[in-house]
């Protein structure tokens, strides 16, 4: 069994460029709401001397202006729709597609007698032809090794052309010897430091440790990671949800639920859980994706799936604020009289909280900060959810996002579709 990790290069910027072919080779960035912090960039921008992700744009104003870097406000509605299309395209290759984040997915390659490298190129070319999205692909016997392969594919583009396969012991060892311990997927900065202190500098050295040591010092997740890097597939993706890009949860209910209040409660508690995780990594979220679904196996019931994206006026990690916005999202898609199996939330567009701009006119963020810390502490000490929000009576004000630089929502709004206007070939 082999797996493939397919991810979109410079996802948000690439999605913007689908509709701006002329700008595909220019440096471009996406700024957080309020147009503050750089949350996405393409490779050309990232390679500019002095450029740094996750910094407030004004600090780099010189560099951005001098290099004519294109700036966008986030258009999450577009990104989420393009992401949905991306997954659907992958589904044409196999129905075993596991979406890992908004711009990456794992595929089970349950195929025989196929040259994996050329299969990888076929996937890459198809996604580019049908969606204009450039992807990188790592193919390997385990998901952790796919991550390594994908890293190599991107790092050595001239040689790999964005696809790399680890299918021999020789390639696996070479790759692990190249990979720095801090860059190993899912290892976390705390463990990376601990390992470095012990002189473990590469992924290969990590795999030379005994199982016993890893289990005792790095929990069972660390052990599974080691096995994965050794080529033994054993990882459950939920255990290693990479924190940098996206935090989400979507557990199925114990039984079918029709009651709005219960669905709302679930949404609220999922957000509390995700917001806690978000704060532990000192990040804030730019948008919330909410989805509801009925049980497709209960064919006798009316079926429904819908999702929506709530773009926050100002990025935040405040539970009350996130819950309020998630409930607003839920209200848009919830339909009465259905039996729901699942509600899911994802926090997306994450970046470090030390570069939040804030907005004088929005009552949002750090007001609750000290209360929030106390709640987090209590929840940590007792059980998650000991201290809960009363999810009612919030300020009903609606804030319009400052979206001057936001591109049209080409794929989801009929009045914003691509305009072949003022056709250039007419006199």
């Amino acid at each position: 069994m082999m797996y493939a990790l397919v991810d979109i290069n410079g996802a948000f910027v690439s999605m913007e460029m689908v509709f701006r072919p002329a700008d595909r080779n220019k440096p471009a960035i996406v700024l957080s709401n309020g147009d503050g912090c750089i949350i996405a960039a393409n490779k050309i921008a990232k390679n500019l001397p002095g450029f740094e992700m996750y910094t407030p744009a004004f600090q780099l104003d010189d560099i951005l202006k001098r290099n004519n870097v294109l700036r966008f406000s986030p258009n999450f509605e577009l990104y989420v729709d393009m992401s949905r299309r991306f997954i659907k395209e992958l589904n044409c290759f196999t129905d075993k597609v596991e979406m890992y984040s908004i711009d990456e997915a794992f595929l089970d390659l349950d195929i025989k007698n196929v040259d994996l490298l050329s299969y990888g190129y076929t996937i890459k070319d198809t996604i580019f032809k049908n969606l204009d999205l450039p992807v990188g692909i790592g193919i390997a016997p385990t998901k952790a090794l796919c991550k390594v392969a994908s890293r190599i594919a991107k790092k050595f583009v001239e040689r790999t052309n964005n696809v790399y396969v680890i299918d021999t012991e020789e390639k696996r060892i070479k790759a692990l010897k190249w990979l720095k311990i801090g860059d190993v997927w899912g290892i976390g900065s705390r463990y990376a430091k601990k390992l470095l202190d012990l002189g473990i500098k590469t992924a290969y050295q990590f795999t030379q440790l005994t199982d016993n040591w890893v289990l005792r010092n790095m929990t069972v997740v660390g052990l599974r990671l080691k096995h994965e890097l050794e080529g033994k597939s054993c990882l459950n993706l939920d255990e290693i949800k990479e924190s940098k890009k996206e935090i989400g949860t979507a557990k199925a209910f114990g039984s079918m639920i029709s009651d709005y209040e219960l669905v709302k409660e679930a949404t609220s508690s999922y957000i509390e859980y995700c917001a806690g995780k978000l704060r532990r990594q000192n990040s804030v979220a730019s948008a919330i994706l909410v989805h509801v679904e009925t049980n497709s196996f209960r064919t006798q019931d009316e079926q429904y799936y819908n999702r929506t994206i709530v773009t926050l006026p100002v990025a935040s990690s405040d539970t009350a604020y996130l819950v309020k916005n998630a409930i607003d999202g839920l209200n848009r898609i919830f339909k009465d009289g259905l039996k729901y199996k699942r509600v899911g939330v994802s926090l997306i567009g994450l970046f470090p909280d030390n570069c939040v701009q804030g907005n004088l006119f929005v009552d949002c963020n750090n007001k609750h900060s000290s209360i929030q810390k106390t709640i987090d502490r209590l929840n940590m000490k007792y059980e998650q959810g000991t201290i809960r929000l009363a999810t009612s009576g919030f300020n009903k004000q609606h804030w319009e996002s400052k979206a001057e630089l936001r591109s049209p929502r080409y794929t989801t709004r009929l009045n914003e579709i691509l305009n072949i206007g003022n056709d250039v070939l007419q006199l």
Binding site: A22, N130, D132, R332, I420, N422, D423
Partner: protein, 145 residues
Amino acid sequence: MQIEKKPAFTFFQANSEKLLVPYSDGGLNATFSGLFSDVAIEWIDLAPLLNTRPSSTFFCRVNGDSMKDERLQDGDIVIVDKSLPLQDGKKVIVWIAQENGWTVKRLSMKDGLVYLIPANEKLKPYSVTADDIFWGVVTWILHKE
């Protein structure tokens, strides 16, 4: 006939119920409310007709009358599938690099020469350059009478 209104913030997904048009044997008095739940109300779903491949299908609006003689008029919406192969005679959406803008024209590919052909006697065919980018193939024209 009446088309169901779009709620403010859902996705414009043509494979969802947004393209449903109510239809009933009982004439045009069919209601959405379910009051006549014992009366069979069928729905004509336009999505399978108009949007056969949702993941690579996009909607675009056309301005101008450069294609007026081939049923494509100012203000029409075209449905574009990016997955389709380029074929002689198809209408295509192309980014014209030198002009820095979009165009929709009929594609002509003969003897290695690639032209975009307008449907307006005032305009001349355009010879495609290497910098121009083919974006997609038109599958439907939506024209409001």
